[in-house]
């Protein structure tokens, strides 16, 4: 049984024929669309390495069957930068030293982008830590990650303010 789905991936419309309904969004991205920036950690929704945005909301791609996503818009780490210009969250992770080995970083960054657009953390580091708790970093770069999220949020808020003015 082949299932046809349409997805918009990083702004590009994609028509996808799924030969197997067991394919998760994570495996679709990595193995079939060759977007390997999204990482497989636990594959059980416990580590957050596979975090992507679906219709603007951060989710664990490993627990989402691709067949359920017909018509959805997916943003992965590959879709953040505009050419050579890094997304403010990517730039802030570098500026704040928000990683060590880098394996969890795409998930951390996508989660941070989701967190900032949700808008529930304010400038409170405690709330940022709580709302990033779905992303594990076994190198323990949490201090830099928290600083990066707060810094990126400040920059993005300032940008929005400039655009509005």
């Amino acid at each position: 049984m082949t299932l046809s789905i349409s997805l918009t991936v990083n702004g590009q419309p994609r028509a996808i024929a799924l030969d197997d309904p067991r394919v998760t969004l994570l495996d679709l991205l990595r193995e079939r669309l060759h977007l390997s920036g999204t990482k497989k950690g636990c594959d059980r929704g416990q580590c957050g390495a596979c975090t992507v945005l679906v219709d603007g909301r951060r989710i664990n791609a490993c627990l989402s069957l691709a067949a359920t996503l017909d018509g959805a818009s997916v943003t992965t780490i590959e879709g953040l930068a505009e050419g050579e210009a890094l997304h403010p969250v990517q730039a802030a992770f570098i500026a704040c030293d928000g990683f060590q080995c880098g394996y969890c970083t795409p998930g951390q960054i996508m989660s941070a982008v989701g967190l900032i657009s949700e808008g529930h953390a304010g400038d409170d580091a405690e709330r940022v830590r709580e709302l990033m708790s779905g992303n594990l970093c076994r190198c323990g770069a949490y201090k830099g990650i928290t600083e990066a999220v707060l810094q990126a949020q400040r920059e993005m808020t300032a940008e929005t303010g400039r655009d509005a003015a």
Binding site: M1, P21, R22, G45, G48, L63, E126, G134, N135
Partner: protein, 352 residues
């Protein structure tokens, strides 16, 4: 993961017709079911995708003052709905204390009610588990069981129901709306989850093919908004299931408790409403003595199912703490660490 047929019904009637066929399972957010399918604990032959069914993702305020939450409302959307969270703050706090932000964005309310237990032996295909394979035994009974049930368990199963949000919901007399092959019906949330007894494989009161379509909170449930807390003790600060948890809600008149609602989480195979403890508080002065008395009543029938006697005293203490904090008043702003007993005031830091 086993192979399965994937069905995408476009309406409720079609979904229920498909869901009623043998070997079918309903799929909504997938955060529990897909995981269990990956490890082979759930092996549906037919997966009925209900995640796009129209009309089940709304929060409706009804004329009689009650609120109806569609089964497909995502946990995050319910918790951050301003009107809902101000009417039912302990429900919002419980939602935000569960799982991670990513999972709360995907998981649905109906799925939360239907989630399976998190016993390691249930999830391990090499272990005996009467829920997974009826009659095979219970390896948890003589295994690693420090987090298992202390109320309502049997020799056949000592697993707990892991939900946070069900705890305040059961305390607030939530009603579950069901559609099925025999038509619609509704039951109290308190009657949805079953204690294991001799049939631990029967986890809930749903009949084959029945689907939870919504959940209602009665108008009276709003009376507790000013003094309502959910507290959850975890083995780490965030993103963990409860060791024990408690919802406590009060109304106070002329310095005495007028009405109390109490329920415990992670102590039994269902969210555990403590009705005798509630009754003991009516007319009492809201002090530590009354709260301790209520907690003693709530755990009066408790007994350890293994190396978990500590949970009984812990449950008493979390209940006293939840009552004490409820009496102080619902926080004006959701705490930075929702439901954490370590952060009693907004803005408290758990690290310096």
């Amino acid at each position: 993961m086993n192979r399965f047929d994937f069905l995408r019904p476009t309406g409720l009637t079609e979904a229920i017709a498909e869901g009623g066929k043998p070997g079918s399972a309903y799929l909504a957010g997938g955060t529990n079911l897909v995981d269990l399918m990956k490890i082979g604990v759930s092996r549906p032959e037919r997966l009925v995708d209900i995640s796009r069914l129209p009309g089940l993702d709304r929060i409706d305020w009804l004329e009689d003052g009650s609120v109806r939450i569609g089964a497909l409302v995502r946990n995050a959307d319910l918790a951050y709905d301003i009107r809902f969270a101000s009417a039912f703050p302990a429900v919002a706090e419980a939602l935000l204390s569960g799982a991670s932000a990513q999972l709360r964005n995907a998981a649905t309310l109906g799925g939360n009610l239907m989630q399976r237990n998190r016993c390691a032996y249930f999830q391990d295909g090499a272990s005996a588990c009467n829920r997974r394979v009826p009659g095979s035994g219970c390896d948890a009974l003589h295994g690693e069981n420090r987090l298992h049930a202390v109320l309502g368990w049997s020799e056949n199963c000592i697993a707990t129901h892991p939900s946070d949000v069900c705890v305040p919901l059961v305390a607030l007399d939530a009603v579950v709306e069901i559609e099925g092959p025999q038509g619609p019906r509704e039951i109290a949330l308190d009657a949805l989850h079953r204690l294991p007894g001799d049939t631990p494989e029967l986890e809930n009161a749903l009949l084959p093919g029945e689907l939870i379509v919504g959940l209602r909170l009665p108008a009276e449930a709003k009376a507790f908004a000013a003094k309502a807390r959910y507290l959850k003790l975890r083995e780490r600060m965030s993103y963990a299931f409860a060791v024990v948890s408690a919802a406590a809600m009060l109304t106070v008149e002329d310095g005495r408790i007028r009405e109390a609602r109490l329920a415990l989480g992670a102590v039994a195979a269902k969210p555990w409403r403590a009705r005798a403890a509630e009754a003991s508080l009516i007319g009492a002065l809201p002090d530590t003595e009354a709260f301790a008395g209520a907690a003693a009543l709530a755990l009066a029938e408790a007994k350890p199912s293994g190396a978990n006697e500590f949970k009984i005293e812990l449950a008493r203490r979390i209940l006293v703490r939840a009552l004490t904090l409820a009496m102080e008043g619902t926080p004006a702003v959701m705490p930075a660490l929702p439901a954490s007993p370590f952060s009693t005031h907004t803005g408290d830091r758990h690290v310096a």
